[in-house]
Symmetry: C2
Subunit: 733 residues, 2 copies
Amino acid sequence: MNYFYLVPIASLFALGFAFYFFKKMMKESEGTEQMKTIAKYVREGAMSYLKQQYKVVAIVFIILAMIFAVMAYFGLQNNWVPFAFLTGGFFSGLAGFFGMKTATYASARTANAAKNSLNKGLQIAFRSGAVMGLVVVGLALFDISAWYLILDHFIENADSGHKLIMITTTMLTFGMGASTQALFARVGGGIYTKAADVGADLVGKVEAGIPEDDPRNPATIADNVGDNVGDVAGMGADLYESYCGSILATAALGASAFVLNPAMQLKAVFAPMIIAAIGVFLSILGIFLVRTGENADMKKLMAALNRGVNVSAILIALLTFVALYLLGFENWKGLSFSVISGLLAGIVIGQGTEYFTSHSFRPTQLIAESGKTGPATVIISGMGAGMISTFIPVITIALAILSSYLCAIGFDVEHMISGENLSMGLYGIGIAAVGMLSTLGITLATDAYGPIADNAGGNAEMCGLGEDVRKRTDALDALGNTTAATGKGFAIGSAALTALALLASYIEEIKIGMLRLGQTVLEFVDGGTVEIAKASFIDFMNYYQVTLMNPKVLVGIFIGSMMAFLFCGLTMNAVGRAAQKMVEEVRRQFREIAGILEGASTPDYAKCVEISTKGAQREMLLPSLLAIAIPIVTGIILGVPGVMGLLAGGLGSGFVLAVFMANSGGAWDNAKKYVEEGNLGGKGSDVHKATVVGDTVGDPFKDTSGPSLNILIKLMSMISIVMAGLTVAWSLL
Amino acid sequence: MNYFYLVPIASLFALGFAFYFFKKMMKESEGTEQMKTIAKYVREGAMSYLKQQYKVVAIVFIILAMIFAVMAYFGLQNNWVPFAFLTGGFFSGLAGFFGMKTATYASARTANAAKNSLNKGLQIAFRSGAVMGLVVVGLALFDISAWYLILDHFIENADSGHKLIMITTTMLTFGMGASTQALFARVGGGIYTKAADVGADLVGKVEAGIPEDDPRNPATIADNVGDNVGDVAGMGADLYESYCGSILATAALGASAFVLNPAMQLKAVFAPMIIAAIGVFLSILGIFLVRTGENADMKKLMAALNRGVNVSAILIALLTFVALYLLGFENWKGLSFSVISGLLAGIVIGQGTEYFTSHSFRPTQLIAESGKTGPATVIISGMGAGMISTFIPVITIALAILSSYLCAIGFDVEHMISGENLSMGLYGIGIAAVGMLSTLGITLATDAYGPIADNAGGNAEMCGLGEDVRKRTDALDALGNTTAATGKGFAIGSAALTALALLASYIEEIKIGMLRLGQTVLEFVDGGTVEIAKASFIDFMNYYQVTLMNPKVLVGIFIGSMMAFLFCGLTMNAVGRAAQKMVEEVRRQFREIAGILEGASTPDYAKCVEISTKGAQREMLLPSLLAIAIPIVTGIILGVPGVMGLLAGGLGSGFVLAVFMANSGGAWDNAKKYVEEGNLGGKGSDVHKATVVGDTVGDPFKDTSGPSLNILIKLMSMISIVMAGLTVAWSLL
């Protein structure tokens, strides 16, 4: 139990440093009056969006909490769930609020600091990003440790092994709150940001021929707000969910894997939390290592960030060995290698993403070259490259799954899928997910850094700061584009591993659901019986016939695969429709407000912010409700085998589709930049125009639909977990 | 046994009528000298492509046949496989050859007939398409019945139940030949046709501003050749494979489901063949019902085709009841409803496809409207609509799977997945696939009709036939576009059901593979044993732990999902690269051959044909070899659970991806046509230009990558089936 206190301590450490970084940033000057005004516009826009979104989310939360309360009343779920659901959502929302507040305060300060020094600019932007990273891990660990202590105190059970299983499966359902919050943050934020971006580009850049971030464009503030809404708050909520989900699922798998070994069971439950805590301390260390000299080029800036992340990762790997050894795991080496599998996979996926999306490499250059024959071939080659690029993350995740599983069972290949080994192996996969996410404090800092630098650039452009300042903010922004791409790879990879851990722990919930309903034995078709409390995963698979010959499983796989595409299609169309409205508004302003294009009068920025906000709110509902409803309906009709098929199918095609969309989008973005740097005719050439089309198509790919899939694959698992009791009690087939 | 002779009789009937239609068509006049010359160019181009392709395919066939021979030598496969593999490939190739020969003879004759009469034109084009349809079903049934008789004669076995299982599992592996042939026909043909089309459009329409099918465009003959190569030969080989695969897989499932009921076992094996034979007779009847009056509009033309298909379908449904009753099935009603599930699903998928791709409906009109804001929004909205459209086929297939399963087991929901019911239910799914494909004789006629009408239009345009002739060929062509879209839906749907039947019969092959290697009992982890000859599907699932908790299955699902995208990406890029070469060649000819654009000199058509041919041959190899290699490698590393995961994952995401690509592509094509008909500014407007970009992107979507996925999902199953012996003998994990 003593080890456990590392977790709340790490939480307080993270929150403390976040506060420290925030305070320090706030002491910096925001620059000229104009810079302050622009920053204020963006800040107000972002906050008004957040307020609006939280209103909608609050309604959904109240409805869901009431449903859970009813379920608890009928014994289909435990009584803690409604409350825990609310705290999960509340803390996730709080993290988003703090992160975005910080980001919107930091951008003008970053621009102002860049007047004098590149390093100073980097420090402000990066450490402000770190506020987001640390608030996310801090609040997550706080929520987890608080609930652990509460449940440990209140849940009474003679048998301690059983008690731990009760605690962990109860806690697992709390992830639902984080999931629901993440859903709306990612989907709503994603629609907002791209409606604004696409709308601003289509009229501003293409029709009026004014540059990006030009203050004459009425949608430019909305565009900058969007970066914060989508890439800070959305990304933060996404990873908050993965972080909680992977820790809680692994704890549940640990309680089950070590149920016959009381001495180790508690430690197996704590292990993922402790690895996370270690990650927090070392992330903070890593954050301090990010610094650079003056006149640093892109390479040196990248090296500065990499230094921070890599030192954290290596030290986490080393300390994992120590921690698991001290905790007394018999197979501490194997489990540590499981953790390392996850850590490594995160890094490899990031590198692979960079190869396929950076214009330093052939794939993206080829996309730019295909612009010689017009926009159609840019689209074709970009989609082709994005689809091909999926093989790296898939093979990496496949290897991570197999190696973390095999390491955890001590390479007992002979009995790879025996009852005990299956539990241990799945625990290994879970702990690999935790390993991948252990660096979250610092990797999320590099993510949240991106939009801050982007907004700093926007601020500098709008306020007409000098050439050399723009050059510095451009350098910071370019770095942000790279971290955005690798960050997306990391987010998708971690979502996949987390969803896998959730899929495994789904059966734990089914077990508890049965016990809660008073069922004590599994009766098999052939007449055999197994006591549920002692039943292994394999027993449950046999009982429910969750095999690939079961038509319910196969139908589930079809529907799951479809869900990924349907969800994507709905969000793509949402962006299209919302952008359309933005285009009309910008055109209206150009037409009706005299003197905008000459810079003589100020456009009505607020109106554009409002359009994006309303569009996002309206458009996010259908895909979101579908993502919540389909797993429930599948459970009611097809039962456990159908749900598991749904989750596996959704995970498989959702993961690959997400990678494809993120990488195609990133590559199109950079292909355009490659041309803008003077290649293939440079800005204004026909090739440039063709690549601008690619970039615009890529916007919803990489910033709306692709990232939303991360949420979909986790949320569908989470909702199935929470609804497990219902599925146990009643299903049609 | 007497019933069985219906099958060879149907085969001879089909071939006889094909010969009759061919002869009748050949008697028609090919029109003016110029028309003959153009037709000759296209015919020669098509035949030279086919010759080139068959050369490459022959090499692959020889290598694979040798591998199978070696496997047979080591007892990993039976001795018949190498020979049967070759006949499957040979007959599929022969069907492609006849179909394309007919199509290329028919187009000028259709154009010539359209000089006088719309009905005459329709008759020639449609009955020439019917040659393809009838040759495919005729040769398939011939191959199947011949091999049945051979094996029945040669395979010696005391126990007749066991003998039938040996025969059917052996025959199943013959599908491999059809699969391999289809792979190259679809992938090669798909690359050819779109390289030519995209290349012709990019330079001709966009740069030089000359209309489609203009004789001044050097790539125009290659474009017309491509229609035959891709849509006739490729589509034919694709459906030949589905047709054989579904019949053979269902026969194997029938032998297994009725193994304890010797009286019915043989009839269960014959049932799918007999349903197919009934389908042949009624398809021929349906073909004769397709006729129309003069001055028929699009609606009436469509009604004429629908009359033929619907009458066939309804009569097949009725006769199925009679046939299954006469065969003596206890549950003849239920099984007949299984057949009807498949038939209905085919029709619903076709209708859904039409809704999402025809410009008579909102989705496609909205895509056209999004052209107001440029090509980027056309792409975004087209992709969104395509992704959303996947829900119709997926839900339809899901319902078809469940209902055909439940009907076959007499709605015994209580014991839905018990050993006996599982066998019967899977047989029901198989027979639903056969039901869907039973109308193939006539549905393939409507497919092959499309390119003939298209080429007739091309011929009329190139030869400058009068306005009224063009109007008639345009009407025929427009009808062809609709049948092409619904035909694609049908091809994908049937591929999915066929792949499902193949997935189920994979385990039959594993069983036989074990017996061949001398293994007689399954020893379970918990110590129990089951005799293999008596083991149920459930026993095998338990033995191999093919559950969704097994990491090997999960990794397989990931890799399968990826394969769909990787394969698509490679074929997309292949089209991009080959089109690039075509563009360069056309530009060169415009530059170097004086007077082309003025119509004073003839372009070098042959050079463009050669470029497409070479490009297709070169580019088809990598994706094809990957599709063959990955299932083998997965089997070697991950064993049976990995392979089944691979197949399920590939099937799920491949099916959805294929529908998405086909529908997005079809919708873009028709959005452009919608504008060309005078909406939203009409031809030459900015909206038109934007929709042309969509159409060009859609070309490889709907005619290369999308349809190739049909092959991928079937081929991966087929290769796994053939390699089952290897997987049984040896796998790493």
